[in-house]
């Protein structure tokens, strides 16, 4: 069961995509991704002299024509990819509800999961603060993943760091981890969250999902008492134009710092707006990070 945004057209578009990693990983079985193993994959690696018993189809006749010696091509072994999707399901992703940040983050994670499953790779989703799924394979697993996410409800007191650790621990083979959150938190907290994933030597990607209210808080209001959705902290504000501009600058600054932070840790970064089209994000935004192609 998938959200309504997953139209057949979108699904067909997703089937054309493939999750990519910047590094080669050791998989558990033959899959569609280059692995460190050399063998009978389809990706040319280098030449070696013909030995009795080699498949004559692998003889490189162009080299024979030049050297009149028989050489066979060596190919990289293609293995399956383990993908871990970490989804921030804390209260901030649900506040305000009309921003639909959670819905976008959920859809992105399902889209990536679908792409992964269609490539015969395995995927597990951990909605931090809500639920986690087992490692799934096969295209049909997408429905299970969709159902699980649709039923996900955030818990009030969620220890995100512990849940990240737990999710990372379930990764038996190194692979890719995609962290979807609004990342409206201090950088040191973000570092804490990524640390277990980095320790696992995963190929990390951070997708920041922001809502309209994150960009322009309290539209139309001249004053308000804002309440943090997770801590309950209250801040009394007068929202005039100058204050809004100042906030915008601070948000840009925070995101810049976030990008730098992530870049320093070789974590890919993508920014997705919750009010954008899912297809645009998958087809245009994510490919720019190299996550999908």
């Amino acid at each position: 069961m998938l959200p309504s945004s997953f139209t057949p057209q979108l699904l067909s578009q997703l089937e054309m995509l493939k999750v990519q990693t910047r590094r080669r990983f050791l998989g558990s079985r033959q899959g569609g991704h280059l692995s460190l193993k050399r063998g009978h994959g389809i990706e040319f690696s280098d030449f070696r002299q013909y030995e009795l018993g080699d498949n004559p189809r692998h003889i490189d006749w162009a080299v024979y024509a030049r050297s009149e010696r028989l050489y066979v091509k060596r190919f990289q072994e293609e293995q399956n990819l383990s993908v871990l999707v970490l989804l921030d399901a804390s209260a901030s992703m649900f506040t305000p509800a009309e921003d639909k940040k959670w819905e976008m983050a959920r859809d992105i994670s399902l889209a990536l999961s679908y792409i992964t499953l269609m490539e015969q790779d395995s995927v597990a989703i951990a909605a931090l603060g809500a639920m986690s799924t087992p490692v799934c394979t096969g295209p049909k697993a997408i429905h299970h993943l969709g159902r699980s996410l649709l039923d996900a409800k955030p818990r009030e007191q969620a220890d995100l760091q512990r849940e990240v650790q737990a999710a990372a621990a379930r990764m038996r083979f190194p692979g890719a981890a995609i962290f979807i959150s609004d990342f409206l938190m201090p950088l040191d907290v973000i570092e804490q969250l990524f640390r277990p994933l980095r320790a696992k030597n995963l190929d990390l990607t951070a997708i920041q999902v922001l809502g309209v209210s994150d960009i322009n808080p309290l539209p139309g209001a001249t004053s308000a008492v804002v309440v943090d959705s997770e801590s309950g902290e209250e801040v009394e504000l007068v929202m005039d134009e100058e204050v809004r501009q100042e906030y915008g600058s601070m948000l840009v600054e925070h995101n810049e710092k976030l990008k730098q932070f992530l870049a320093q840790r070789r974590i890919s970064y993508a920014l997705a707006m919750a009010n954008d089209e899912l297809a645009d994000i998958i087809m245009k935004v994510l490919p720019s990070t190299g996550l999908v192609a």
Binding site: K101, L184, D214, L218, D228, L237, H254
Partner: protein
């Protein structure tokens, strides 16, 4: 009660007004809460808290116009609930001053000798001075009867003038009745009562709750129970002539001692006489007495020369006057022989002067004739009694009558023809007519024996028959003398003179020795009286009552009643009241029950309607504003409310 723009407003349930602070506070709280910036949940305040100007959104609370709109609406409802009503145009108070004799009590213990009356007047003046200029004042006195002073409602200055003119009355009070009368007048918002009576407490809470709360009782008499006000007083005076020519007599006075133990007193008798130089007062005699507390003793002055027009008695304690004599006004009494209303008609061929009757100063005699007809014999005539000298009317008069030597064969009192000298054989010594008579000395040269009638008795019998008979018939007294009584020659014929005086006294039942008139009574006067004045010169106005004339005598004293130039008589005016003079006794009173507030209810209903109408239109306006048919400015500053 509050006064606004000349109107006095009151509340049926003023306790409801205590809700107003609650109302105001509640409305203020609601608007303050509404005026607070809204609370908005955001994903994270990480960046928001770092904003440089996290100004407190709650600015100084400036209520919008709607606040005052709703405050006005709720205030009107509250006033209606409190039963706002409008009283009369101005405040209206009553001040009742007890001016009975007991208020003359002098307080040397706590007020340097000021009387209760002075204390009361001072207090009343203070009250009047502190009242607002729009207050209407009604002044009342209790004695001799409840009376309102002045014309109409008084302002402050008029009330003060009336207070200056109030005098102590020689009269008792009927305070409880006066309180009830004032209580029944619902126009008064406050009734101040100044009296030496003390308020009687009640142990019944239900009764206390019903009392008229308008009454105020500033303390006039000290409440100290150990404080005793003692007093001596002349409680009565009387006298009578003891000599045949009324030239001398006795005067008696009863003196009461309202003291704790005993009092030594001196009673002084003074004679008043007038001559060309005016009135003179001459001391005649003194009597001393020691009177135990609570007792009354009678002191008698003997051989008092009755040549004076009147007499004055003065009482004073021999010592400790300040302690033993708290009320001075009851220390004087007056006595006079004159009985101006004791007038007798003499039906005779001879004028009263010829009959020597002008020598009798205690009565007036006029010559009358049978030609006056039925009016002469009527009970309604002004004559105290009739004297038929040697004649009889056609019927028995409806008035006490003396028949002297009625003609023989008359139809009223059969009398035999004159007989020569007879000796008195028997007499009724107990009868008042015969008192003081030495009848064996009576020599009758000729008399007409009388025939007894069934209702008469024989007072003097002779060897030849009844000489004097008398009796009462239908409440009237009749005496018949079978011999010539006149001319009256006083001491020259003492026996006949005394007989004559006894007869007159018995017939008129008047104090031949003089009777006293109560102060504050209206005294009927004979026709022809021109002037009545006290011997001190104060003239009393004559009161016309139809064809009759009367005079009010407000205080004790000796009054001179002047008829024609030679017709002058004197009357004594006295006041004696044991309750008023008994300063030891503390009289109490109770506050009357609260009267119904019918008029206030009517007025309050009028205002409640007004208030409800105002509320209705305010609610209508509120609805129009709500439907945005009418716009009001919603903010006074940039603060967003709600």
């Amino acid at each position: 009660m509050i006064s606004i723009f000349g109107s006095t407003l009151g509340f049926m349930s003023p306790g409801v007004l205590w809700l107003f602070p609650l109302l105001l506070g509640g409305l203020f709280y609601v608007y303050r809460r509404k005026g607070r910036a809204p609370r908005v949940a955001v994903a994270s305040v990480m960046l928001l808290r770092a904003l440089k100007r996290s100004v407190v959104a709650r600015q100084k609370f400036v209520p919008p116009l709607r606040f005052f709109f709703e405050l006005l609406l709720l205030s009107l409802l509250l006033l209606a609930a409190a039963g706002l009503f409008r009283k009369g145009a101005e405040n209206h108070i009553a001040i009742l001053i007890d001016n009975s004799l007991s208020m003359g009590t002098l307080d040397f213990a706590t007020r340097q000798g000021d009387s209760f009356f002075k204390t009361a007047l001072d207090d009343a003046r203070r009250t009047v001075r502190y009242l607002s200029s729009s207050t209407l004042i009604d002044l009342y006195v209790t004695s001799p009867q409840l009376r309102r002073l002045g014309e109409g409602n008084l302002g402050s200055s008029a009330a003060l003038a009336e207070l200056d003119a109030i005098e102590l009355a020689y009269a008792a009070d009927n305070l409880q009745s006066a309180l009830q009368t004032l209580s029944n007048d619902s126009h008064y918002e406050s009734i101040e009562v100044l009296t030496d009576h003390l308020l009687r407490g009640s142990s019944d809470a239900a009764v206390d709750a019903q009392k008229d709360a308008r009454f105020r009782f500033p303390l006039v008499r000290p409440k100290n129970k150990d404080l005793a006000f003692q007093n001596v007083a002349i409680s009565s005076v009387s006298g009578r002539a003891t000599s045949a020519d009324q030239g001398a007599g006795v005067i008696r006075a009863a003196v009461s001692a309202f003291v704790l133990k005993e009092a030594d007193v001196t009673l002084t008798l003074e004679g008043l006489r007038t001559d060309s130089n005016g009135w003179k007062t001459l001391p005649l005699d003194q009597k001393k007495a020691r009177i135990r507390g609570g007792d009354t003793v009678t002191l008698q002055f003997e051989h008092v020369p009755f040549s004076y027009q009147g007499f004055k008695l003065r009482l004073q304690p021999d010592r400790d006057a300040a302690t033993l004599d708290a009320i001075k006004e009851d220390n004087e009494a007056w006595f006079a022989l004159g009985t101006s209303h004791t007038s007798l008609a003499v039906i005779s061929d001879f004028p009263p002067q010829k009959l020597g009757l002008d020598k009798i100063r205690t009565a007036k005699f006029r010559q009358a004739s049978l030609a006056e007809g039925a009016a002469l014999l009527s009970e309604q005539s002004n004559d105290a009694a009739l004297i038929f000298h040697r004649t009889v009317p056609s019927r028995l008069p409806d008035k006490s009558t003396l028949f002297i030597l009625p003609p023989s064969g008359n139809g009223l009192f059969p009398a035999a023809p004159l007989v020569p000298s007879s000796s008195v054989t028997r007499w009724s010594s107990a009868h008042p007519i015969i008192s003081y008579l030495n009848l064996p000395g009576l020599q009758l040269k000729s008399f007409s024996p009388l025939t007894l009638l069934p209702w008469t008795e024989e007072l003097v019998s002779t060897t030849n028959g009844a000489a004097i008979i008398a009796g009462e018939y239908h409440g009237k007294r009749y005496a018949v003398i079978g011999f010539e009584l006149f001319p009256y020659e006083g001491k020259n014929t003492p026996l006949l003179s005394i007989l004559t005086l006894n007869l007159l006294k018995w017939l008129t039942d008047a104090g031949v020795g003089g009777d006293s008139i109560d102060a504050n009574s209206v005294v009927p006067l004979d026709a022809g009286v021109r002037e009545v004045r006290y011997v001190n010169g104060e003239e009393l106005p004559l009161i016309k009552r139809g064809t009759a004339t009367a005079v009010n005598v407000p205080r004790p004293g000796l009054v001179q009643i002047q008829g024609s130039s030679t017709d002058t008589s004197f009357r004594s005016i006295n006041f004696s009241n044991g309750t008023e003079s008994n300063s030891l006794q503390v009289n109490t009173f109770m506050i009357p029950a609260r009267p119904p507030k019918a008029e206030e209810t009517n007025e309050s209903q009028g205002l409640v309607h007004l208030l409800c109408t105002g509320v209705f239109f305010l609610l209508l306006a509120d609805l129009l504003i709500l439907l945005r048919l009418v716009r009001l400015p919603t903010r006074l500053t940039g603060v967003r409310n709600g």
